[in-house]
């Protein structure tokens, strides 16, 4: 970290000057973290894209902080000239999450938004392709939320694996029957153990 961070510091001043309400920090050599409120995200992104030429959108992701009842939307941009990665983060409330789309700035943002809409239930205003993206006829709550318990969902929908096949109860017996050999004496006492105990 002791390397002299000229670009990063200059970048921080720029952002601090135009967006005073944001708190900007340097995580490490090529990483600048910007925490801002929800409605200043689109102006920040377009400012950064046009003036500071951060023109590569690497990532849009969403983190579910269920304890503070917040979703955290993360926009990660990369500038090929200054070789710095901006991680812009904003918190939106979890109960009825709503956000404006940014597919005007980057066309491929639409794919990220479709996935986040399907996986977290965040409503992106202005993005018209909001239908099924990965799942088909999904009635449960959006699956990537932390309160969706996947193991319990599996128990309900797919009948339990161990009960699936009667001969899977006693594996040693079945293998012996298939291969036609006799279970050796010392192994007999193990073969009667039932799988459900």
């Amino acid at each position: 970290m002791n390397k002299e961070l000229t670009n990063e510091n200059k970048l921080i001043e720029d952002i601090k000057k135009t967006f005073p309400s944001s708190e900007v920090s340097i995580q490490r050599e090529k990483r600048v973290i910007v925490k801002i409120k929800q409605d200043t995200v689109p102006p920040l992104l377009s400012y950064v894209k046009d003036y500071l030429d951060f023109n590569h959108l690497s990532h849009i992701s969403c983190v579910d902080w269920i304890e503070q009842k917040k979703f955290e939307l993360v926009f990660i941009l990369w500038s090929y000239d200054q070789q710095i990665q901006i991680i812009a983060k904003t918190l939106i409330n979890r109960d009825e999450p709503k956000f404006t789309t940014i597919n005007k700035l980057w066309r491929q943002a639409e794919t990220y938004e479709r996935e986040i809409h399907e996986m977290y239930g965040v409503e992106f205003v202005g993005n018209d392709r909001m239908g099924d993206f990965l799942l088909e006829d999904w009635e449960d709550i959006p699956p990537m939320r932390r309160d969706f318990n996947t193991i319990q969902f599996v128990k309900e929908n797919f009948n339990d694996r161990s009960a699936a096949r009667e001969d899977s109860k006693n594996v040693r017996e079945t293998i012996a029957k298939h291969s036609g050999e006799e279970i050796p004496e010392f192994a007999k006492k193990y073969s009667t153990r039932n799988i459900d105990e």
Binding site: D137, F148, T150, R161, R165
Partner: protein, 181 residues
């Protein structure tokens, strides 16, 4: 004299012999096992020596190779592909994900054991089986064909409603053609 037991037996032997030596695979690359199919079909392991050849459409195929896990969305397409295939058809389940859900046992989107939804003739175990085990799976299927034990298709036809209830439990809206051949 023509269709008594002996001539029927001879015809069966010839039929099984030709079916054994020419297995056309519609490799539905559903899971990660699909990466071990190119090495099996190409120059190092060469499954074509046994007459195993890829076929483009389910109409022309005999073997449906499910390579690995199946998500519910794919299961619907796999059932349609299976039902489009012509009568003496076999299914090979590939990898531990087809046997008991494998590594994705707790995923909400993959089915756990393939033989509740499709009649499977041969299972090849292994978390992505090697090309040699894939070919040994095919040899096992060929042995089952010669002594007439590979009757997954008949099993599917007989207890079709058991398979349908399992399938409908997983696939929510069921707009599929009915299966009667």
């Amino acid at each position: 004299m023509l269709n008594d037991k002996y001539s029927q037996k001879i015809v069966d032997i010839i039929k099984n012999y030709t079916r054994k030596h020419s297995l056309w695979v519609v490799a539905y690359g559903t899971g990660c096992g699909a990466i071990e199919l190119p090495p099996t079909m190409t120059s190092r392991y060469d499954a074509e020596r046994f007459g195993i050849r890829g076929s483009a459409t389910p109409r022309q195929a005999d073997v449906l190779l499910i390579t690995g896990y199946l998500s519910t969305k794919t299961l619907k397409r796999v059932i349609r592909t299976y039902e489009q295939m012509q009568a003496p058809k076999y299914v090979i389940g590939f990898g531990s994900c087809a046997i008991n859900g494998g590594m994705y046992w707790d995923s909400y989107n993959t089915i756990k054991s393939l033989d509740q939804y499709l009649p499977v003739d041969v299972f090849i175990s292994g978390c992505m089986p090697r090309p040699e085990t894939v070919i040994s799976g095919f040899i096992k299927l060929q042995e089952m064909i010669t002594d007439g034990k590979a009757n997954g298709a008949e099993k599917y036809k007989e207890n079709l409603d058991w398979y349908r209830t399992n399938q409908k439990q997983v696939i929510k809206n069921w707009k599929m053609p009915d299966y009667n051949w």
